[in-house]
């Protein structure tokens, strides 16, 4: 083994980790604000990737135009996700909301399999030169991916911390009734939360195709990874999800390189189990 190999895996891990970060941030945001586990989050990312394939390959838009279009459309679809599968069930048990989002994910997954087939679909990348940094090979497209992810996380952080909407969102997450009492329109907050979350999910989707291909099957594994990140970080802790997402991406890549490629996902699962056993509230969660 050489330092080059380790460096390469660190970079690969950073790539995956960046995706995990924006994926898990959306998942965690929805849970933190609404106490809802969105089982369809993975399929939203999948749809992002597949729609991008459709608009670039079949309609002929460029990558950037297509990606922007897809993210905006999917963000708006988040409104529908809230109104159809989440909102009617709030106030029922948590189980019912899980079931309705499961039904949605099942529909989206199988619908996509019918529309696009199960094979992987490549999307033309806007640029894809390979640059050697030290002994590590880096594609320009992957640099774009990491950059956009960090920008998105920064944007989310600024929104939650400094904007009025962000403050309302956090207040609602902390105390729904209290937020209503001081006049916050919590319905609008919930709509926005899912709009932001689906936008983030779709963004993950359009970025994934920069380093791999689009396929209707990419949602499920990502969902499990996302949950592992969210649980390890502490449910609903968006900041923790960012740190853990990166950590998981990097250590998973190292595990894949040095231990077993087949059981990479098993690694994340085992980390989740260990954390649940030792610190059930998650690394950044409060008891």
């Amino acid at each position: 083994m050489s330092w080059d190999v380790i460096g390469q895996q660190l970079w690969n891990g950073l790539l995956n980790g960046s995706i995990y970060v924006i994926f898990a941030a959306g998942l965690s945001l929805v849970f933190g604000v609404m106490r809802v586990i969105n089982m369809a989050h993975g399929e939203l990312t999948m749809l992002g990737a597949m729609l991008l394939f459709t608009v670039t390959d079949l309609v002929g838009l460029g990558y950037f135009t297509g990606a922007a279009l897809v993210v905006v459309v999917m963000a708006l679809a988040g409104f529908l996700v809230n109104r159809v599968t989440v909102r009617p069930f709030l106030g029922h048990s948590e189980l019912v909301v899980i079931l309705s989002t499961v039904a949605l994910s099942f529909m989206l997954l199988n619908g996509s399999l019918v529309v696009w087939g199960s094979g992987p679909k490549g999307v033309d990348k806007p640029f894809n030169e390979i640059v050697q940094v030290g002994g590590v090979y880096v594609t320009t497209a992957s640099v774009l991916l990491v950059g956009v992810c960090f920008a998105a996380v920064l944007g989310l952080y600024l929104m939650l911390t400094f904007t009025k909407l962000g403050k309302k969102t956090r207040a609602t997450g902390q105390n729904l009734l209290g937020a209503r009492l001081i006049g916050i329109n919590t319905t609008a907050v919930y709509d926005t939360t899912l709009i932001v979350a689906s936008g983030l999910a779709a963004l993950a989707g359009v970025l994934i195709v920069l380093v791999s291909s689009a396929s209707p099957n990419l949602g499920q594994p990502l969902l499990i990874t996302g949950f592992a990140v969210v649980i390890v970080a502490g449910m609903g802790n968006v900041g923790g999800a960012v740190a853990v997402g990166l950590f998981m991406g990097v250590t998973e890549a190292l595990f894949g390189q040095f231990v077993s490629t087949y059981y990479r996902q098993g690694y994340l699962y085992v980390v989740m189990i260990v954390v649940l056993l030792l610190r059930p509230q998650g690394l950044f969660g409060r008891k």
Binding site: I37, L99, Y269, M272, L276
Partner: protein
Amino acid sequence: MRLRIPPGWWLGGLLLLLVAMVPLFVFTNTYNRGLLVLIVIYAIAGLSLDYIMGEMGQFSFGHAAFWGFGAYVSAKLALDLGISPWIGFLAAPAAAGLVGLLIGYIALRRTRGLELAIVTLGFGVLAWTVALRWRPVTGGPSGLRQVPPPSLFGWEIRSELAYFYFALLLLLGIVFLLSRLRTSRFGRGVRSIHENEDLAKSVGVAATKYYVMAFSFACALVGFSGALYAHHFRFVNPNLLGLDYMFIFLIVVLVGGRGTLWGPVLGSAIFVLVSEWLRALQEYRFVIFGVVLLLVVLFMPIGVFPALQRAVRSSRERRKSGDEATAEGEDRARAGVGME
């Protein structure tokens, strides 16, 4: 002692009797009788998932993984060690129950509802990956074939008809067992945690222990259903642990009716028959099922069986108002059982 039959059993028993008659008159060819076996096996799996959803108010996303795990355990024992399927029928639930105990211990210690769903989802994918990759043991993507059927006094239960009646008998036994479990100390304990965990603890119910045990029990039951599948259809492969079956069991429970005992039996019959009817649509079927699932959750959250029960009850009430004197006594006798 007078034998009093609780209200749900009239409807459920009638349903089962109808199903039992079907192969004699309607489903006379082998293929269709195979569907009946499937109905029974899915019904058992659905009942066990409903134990988690209806009795515990929890959700397991890895239920198909336990089902497939049971199937693999029993198939493997029979193929490699020549162990009788009868022992497999015991070993499969034991193994699935043991893994369930472990998963339950991890996931049910703190927050209820969320962790279990997620940990079992992860377990499902992990189990599926192992089944796919660990070729020497699991046979990889093609799985294991030539799983032997069980035999009784030297006579193999091989034909669709024989296996159907065999499985139907077991199903009846399981429904019976589940109904009595509800009024046991354990069943009441589990129910009280579902209803109000803080209160249950205050009267001495060891909530975590009971939930872990209940989850393990449900896993054992579904593992048994998996073993039944393996010894009839005579193969196992990684698909058995996958999400498709998970959704099938979910449809069985939700369409039939959550927390109703007979609901999953009806749900299973509806699912298998409708799915067969839609067979020409191929993969569109699953899209339709997704839509149906969403519509059921949205518009008929109680499921078909309870809706049917209500209809029967209201028609009886209508009859009663016409002929009050006789019907009232009968109704009171039934209400006295207090188990629905």
